[in-house]
Amino acid sequence: MAELTTLAYRPGISLLHTLDARVKMVGLVLISMACLRASLPALTAAALAMCVLAIHCRLNIRALFKEIRFFIVFVAVVWIVRATTTPGDAVWQIGRLAASRQGVFEGALVCGRLMMVVMSGILFIVTTRPFQIKSAVAWFLAPVPLIPHDRVATMMGLIVRFVPVIFGQARQTADAQRARCSENRKNPVYRMSKLAVPVMRRTFITADRLALAMEARCYNESRTPRPAPLGRRDLIALVLIICASLLTAVV
């Protein structure tokens, strides 16, 4: 069976692959926040750095762009809307629709920031094993009172595991209904309700079986802890990330 998405962990030996997930998670937050404040030159520098990292991590750029094509369309729409609704010196005009120089510039900045946030997230996902993300989340939540961090981490893991299963079940059910000419029914509410009920039923049955299977394997909330102490390389990377984020935000 083929992979559902290329936006998943890819084994590798790059620097990002070897860093601790907690450092990468902090880095993701800091760099995203810095990019949201960055000027165009800083954003360009950050984008170049991101491209170098992507190449270093052996990311398949073509497959990646294919995967995020709808997001790219969304970003393009944001750019067009921004360019045509911001007042300023007109660059071109079609009828009553005009794009201003200021709008094009601001649109590029906003879209660049959005793309950078998404790119940072993608680099994080493709270089971090799901269980490392889960363990990092549990580690960050541990000091927060009233939050069962282990349970949250387990639930995160189960969601990642079962989303494709539920989509698969929904697709099978939809195919089975199409095979019985459900498309002849034009009422979308009727079709949706006929699809939702069996999919929900199957999902609950799957959840019930899962709970039983977890119980059979002695599931409980106190489990072998995963995160090890941060190494020297992780700490150096953390300092560099903080400096880079500050520079991006300030310059």
Binding site: M1, K134, G157, R161, G168, A213, C218, Y219, T224
Partner: protein, 249 residues
């Protein structure tokens, strides 16, 4: 020496229907027993009692001398259960994660968890990346991953619920080979099926269930001719008056 002892076990479902009626059965340590019966005969219900997932309404179930209702968690370490639907048994986002799930629940050290994961994957000869998503595995690989997940808890008894369902011929042969390896390595194996053809040549004992009762329990050779009276199709070779051959030969 018996590792599983069931005495006068009765189970009733929430809607009042009877799942098991006065089941008494013993399984010897190291035995390979096949539990057969038509749909609704109580096979899965009986297996769930061995693992403490269901508790007896009356009667007793003992595993290794320990009553299941007294220490269900301890018993679950002794009896590993492989469910019919491997997809809903696999809980990890990656192959490694899934096999590690059980040992981590036992609070073993990270090194020991790692050792068990590698050992279990090697035992079922699952040659896939440990970082692969279980969702992308084939049916046979998922079944072997489910077995590896159970093996990592180092159980003495392995119960498998319809392990060959939905598998093609090569996957069935692979899974059968793994089950026989487990038996050869000293595990007690109890397996349910309604299709004797695939496994009965290797079994030490055949137990036939009907309507929640043990209808027959004997050497396979003594029972194969009468299985159809209990809703289980006899192997083709038996119907033709021949000896049942292994699927591995």
């Amino acid at each position: 020496m018996n590792i599983i002892e069931i005495e006068d076990l009765c189970h009733r479902f929430a809607d009042g229907t009877s799942g098991l009626q006065h089941v008494s059965l013993t399984i010897r340590r190291g035995e390979f027993a096949v539990l057969a019966g038509p749909n609704g005969s109580g096979k899965t219900t009986l297996l769930k009692h061995l693992n403490g997932l269901l508790l007896a309404h009356s009667g007793t179930v003992r595993v290794g001398g320990i009553p299941v209702d007294r220490d269900p968690v301890g018993v679950r370490q002794m009896v590993g259960m492989v469910f019919q639907d491997a997809d809903s048994q696999i809980v990890g986002e990656t192959v490694y994660e899934d096999v590690a799930f059980g040992p981590e629940n036992l609070l073993l050290s990270a090194q020991e968890v790692d050792r068990r994961v590698k050992q279990s994957l090697a035992a079922v000869e699952l040659q896939v990346s440990v970082d692969q998503s279980p969702h992308t595995l084939s049916g046979g690989e998922k079944r072997r991953l489910a077995i590896a997940g159970v093996l990592a808890m180092a159980p003495q008894v392995i119960v498998l619920d319809e392990p060959f369902s939905d598998l093609d011929y090569p996957a069935t042969v692979q899974v059968l080979k793994q089950i026989l390896n487990l038996h050869r390595n000293g595990h007690t194996v109890l397996l349910t099926t309604h299709d004797l053809e695939k496994v009965i040549a290797h079994a030490d004992r055949l137990i036939l269930l009907r309507d929640g009762r043990v209808a027959r329990s004997d050497l396979p050779a003594n029972l194969l001719k009468e299985t159809e009276a209990f809703g289980v199709r006899a192997p083709c070779a038996t119907r033709m008056g021949l000896e049942v051959e292994s699927w591995l030969s």
